[in-house]
C-alpha cells in the first residue's frame, strides 16, 4: 500500500490534514477506486471503534488501587527479610548439624560417607535447578517473542 496514502488517511482521522494534504487525498481517492474502497473500509472500522470504550471497573477498584500496590511492595520487603533470616538460621543449623555428625563416633564411617554423598548430590541438583531458573531463563533473548 502507498505509504503516503496511509499517512494521509491517518492524518484525516486525527483531523490534522492541511488544505494542501486534503486536496492531495481527494485527488488520490478520485483517481484510484481501489484506494477509495480502502478508505471507506478504514472509515467504517474507525467509526465503529470510536463508538466503543473499554469497560469501567467499579469505583472501589480505584480507591483500593494504591493500597494494592503499596501492600505488595511492603510484602515484598517482608519476604526479603524473612528469606535473609531463614538463610542465616538454616546456615547456622547446617553447620551445627555437620559438626555434630562428624564428631559422632557411634555412626559407622561407611554410613557417614553415604550420607555425605547423598547431601552432596542434593546440593548439586538444587544448584542446577536454581541456575536454570535464574541464569539461563534471564539470558534467553527471545523469551518474550511469541512463537
Amino acid at each position: 500500500m502507498n505509504e503516503r496514502f496511509i499517512v494521509l488517511i491517518e492524518k484525516y482521522f486525527a483531523k490534522e490534514l492541511s488544505d494542501k494534504e486534503k486536496s492531495e487525498l481527494e485527488t488520490l481517492l478520485n483517481d484510484n477506486p481501489k484506494l477509495k474502497e480502502e478508505f471507506e473500509e478504514q472509515k467504517r472500522v474507525k467509526e465503529v471503534l470510536t463508538k466503543m470504550k473499554l469497560k469501567n471497573p467499579s469505583r472501589e477498584v480505584w480507591d483500593g488501587y494504591w493500597m494494592g500496590v503499596y501492600n505488595r511492595i511492603e510484602r515484598g520487603i517482608a519476604w526479603i527479610l524473612i528469606s535473609i533470616g531463614a538463610i542465616i538460621f538454616f546456615a547456622y543449623a547446617s553447620i551445627e548439624a555437620v559438626n555434630s555428625f562428624i564428631k559422632d563416633t557411634q555412626t559407622p564411617p561407611l554410613v557417614k560417607i553415604g550420607i555425605g554423598i547423598l547431601i552432596f548430590g542434593i546440593l548439586v541438583l538444587l544448584f542446577s535447578l536454581i541456575r536454570e531458573k535464574f541464569f539461563i531463563t534471564k539470558r534467553d533473548k527471545y523469551k518474550e517473542v511469541q512463537r
Binding site: 480502502e38 488501587y65 494494592g68
Partner: protein
C-alpha cells in the same frame, strides 16, 4: 520538564508519597492498556499493579527527562507478553462497551444489536496479533497521539500509522468474515 519529572534520584530516595502520586496519575491508563491487551479485569489489575512495583524497584534506571508512562508501559507490555505466552488458551471477559452518549434514547432492539456488535468486535480483536491489538487499543480506545504511541513502542510515528492501518484492515476482514 513535565510534572511527572523531578530531579534525578535513586530508588532509595523516591518518597512513598511521590510514588503514590505517580501511581494515582497513571493507574487508569495503566489498567485500561492492560485490559485491552489481556481481556481480563483480574489480570489487568494484577499486572498493572505488578508493573508499578517493578517500576518502583527500578526507579533508578528511569531517565526522568522522559515520560514516566512511556517507560512504565514497556514494563507492563513485557509482563503482558509473558502472561499471554503462559496462558495461551485463556478465556476473555467482555471488556468493551458503548460510550455513554451512544446509549441515550435507544430501544431494547438497538441495545441487543449493540451488544452483539460489541461481542463481535471483541472476538475479532482477540484474534489479532499482539502488536495489532496493542496499536488498536492505544490509539482507538485510549486516544494516545501517534507521537505518544511512537514513544511508548520505540518506533517511528510513520510505523505507528502503517501498523494501525494494517491492524484496522485486518480487523475489517475478520468482522466481515464473522458477519457473513
Amino acid at each position: 520538564m513535565s510534572s511527572e519529572t523531578t530531579e534525578n534520584r535513586s530508588f532509595s530516595k523516591i518518597e512513598k508519597k511521590e510514588f503514590e502520586m505517580l501511581v494515582a496519575k497513571n493507574m487508569r491508563r495503566a489498567y485500561y492498556s492492560a485490559l485491552g491487551l489481556l481481556g481480563s479485569h483480574d489480570a489487568a489489575m494484577d499486572l498493572s499493579q505488578e508493573a508499578f512495583i517493578r517500576a518502583y524497584k527500578n526507579y533508578d534506571k528511569f531517565d526522568e527527562r522522559r515520560n514516566f508512562f512511556s517507560w512504565y508501559y514497556k514494563i507492563l507490555k513485557n509482563l503482558c507478553l509473558n502472561f499471554i505466552r503462559d496462558k495461551k488458551r485463556r478465556k476473555e471477559e467482555p471488556i468493551l462497551e458503548y460510550r455513554n452518549d451512544e446509549l441515550e434514547n435507544e430501544n431494547p432492539q438497538e441495545t441487543v444489536e449493540k451488544n452483539e456488535l460489541t461481542e463481535l468486535i471483541q472476538e475479532a480483536l482477540s484474534e489479532l496479533e499482539f502488536e495489532e491489538r496493542e496499536i488498536i487499543v492505544l490509539r482507538e480506545f485510549e486516544d494516545y497521539s501517534y507521537n505518544e504511541i511512537a514513544d511508548m513502542l520505540n518506533i517511528p510515528a510513520g510505523t505507528v500509522m502503517s501498523r494501525l492501518y494494517y491492524a484496522r484492515k485486518k480487523l475489517a476482514g475478520k468482522l466481515k468474515r464473522m458477519m457473513i
